[in-house]
């Protein structure tokens, strides 16, 4: 069992075996580490990839971020921040695979992105866009499991169906790890900032998040809310327990939760249309 886990970890930490990370991202990474690089220079790099630019603009104007109207990459970078565009580039390449193979997971992720954004706004938290990105990426581990151990994935989904358990329980049984841990490894190997990697790695165990517990809590609650809505498909159909530590960290109450649910349900109609468009394009 342990072999399986370390093997999977090795595969993921060795980025070369991951076909989905475009060269644009590494160029962006090296530029954004350089203080002298201008937003225009970075925008130019992104613009050199037409498909990627189109996807970034679609995502930047999606209901997850849809509070702006963004028409150029450099505007997207200024409005959303370089880090957000970087993670958008990242997620769009990952989701390119997801859209085709697992529409349900794509819709679930998009939904959690929207819910995380609405929740963060309602709670007047800083960096709402980053929180939305973390929401969008929170289940990225599932994509990797599906890509790298497709046989195990079939077994995992069979266990979920037969024993009616949560997907992370089935994952631990079959591959001795779960999608949040795998997502955390991936985030590390891609040098994503902590504010993205922590919510990805700990959205099922908020107490383990040390530096970004607020963001992790938002993503956890958003995940629960989308599962409660029955929107998309994340592998199992069961609403997880709302973790008390997340509830307390965000100082949530019934009123705020009810308002956010209302907003989310409203927005999900748009998300559904957007996701259909995205798949059709």
């Amino acid at each position: 069992m342990d072999d399986k886990r370390s093997e999977l970890k090795k595969i993921i930490m060795d980025t070369k075996t991951l076909p989905t990370l475009p060269g644009v991202i590494s160029k962006l990474n090296s530029l954004s580490d350089n203080d002298k690089a201008s937003v225009q220079e970075m925008a130019k790099i992104v613009s050199s990839d037409q498909v990627l630019s189109a996807r970034i603009l679609r995502l930047a104007n999606s209901p997850s971020y849809g509070f702006y109207r963004v028409s150029t990459i450099s505007n997207a970078m200024i409005l959303l921040g370089v880090n957000v565009v970087k993670s958008l580039a990242l997620s769009s390449s990952i989701f390119a695979i997801m859209e085709k193979d697992s529409v349900g997971l794509w819709e679930h992720s998009l939904g959690v992105g929207v819910a995380a954004n609405l929740l963060a706004r309602r709670l007047k938290l800083p960096e709402c866009e980053e929180i939305a990105t973390a929401g969008l990426l929170h289940d990225i581990g599932k994509v990797i499991v599906s890509l790298k151990c497709s046989e195990a994935e079939i077994e995992i989904l069979r266990l979920v169906r037969e024993r009616q358990i949560y997907i992370q329980e089935a994952e631990r049984e079959v591959i001795d790890t779960d999608h949040s841990e795998v997502g955390g490894w991936l985030a590390k190997s891609w040098f994503l900032p902590d504010k993205l990697s922590e919510p990805i790695a700990f959205h099922h165990d908020v107490a383990k998040s040390i530096n970004h517990r607020i963001k992790t809590s938002v993503v956890h609650i958003a995940d629960v809310l989308i599962k409660a809505s029955g929107f998309g498909n994340s592998g199992d159909g069961y609403v997880q327990k709302i973790q008390q530590v997340a509830w307390d960290t965000l100082k949530l109450n019934e009123r705020a939760l009810s308002d956010v649910v209302e907003e989310i349900e409203d927005k999900l109609v748009e998300v559904k249309n957007f996701s259909l468009e995205m798949i059709g394009s």
Partner: protein, 112 residues
């Protein structure tokens, strides 16, 4: 409350939310909530590029749309494992209330 395309709007339906011009969704409302729709009004909204309206109740049934009972059964199934958790019970009640409202009640104060 139900959001329907303007094409399916009929005289007699009651607006559950303010209606805005299609080209300026954040501008001034052109028709207030609680207004009873008439044929003339629907034509005027159409001229203003309005695509959809929110109306009270659930007047339009699409093919394949689930009934209240079906939706409630699905909701119960999703909460099967965590219903006994106090925080989840709160969330369940919110969703159930929302479901009831979307089927019969009128819309919230929010504008569309």
């Amino acid at each position: 409350m139900q959001k329907i395309p303007l094409m399916l709007a009929k005289a007699g339906m009651v607006l559950a939310r303010d209606v805005f011009r299609g080209d300026s969704p954040t501008g001034m409302p052109v028709c207030g909530k609680d207004t009873v729709l008439t044929e003339a009004l629907i034509t005027r909204l159409d001229n203003m590029d309005v695509q959809s309206v929110n109306v009270q109740g659930h007047p339009v049934w699409e093919e394949g749309e689930l009934s209240y009972e079906d939706l409630l059964r699905e909701l119960d199934h999703r909460f099967e494992k965590t219903m006994q958790e106090p925080l989840n019970a709160i969330l369940y009640d919110i969703h159930k209330a929302h479901l009831i409202k979307s089927m019969e009640g009128e819309g919230g104060r929010q504008t569309e």
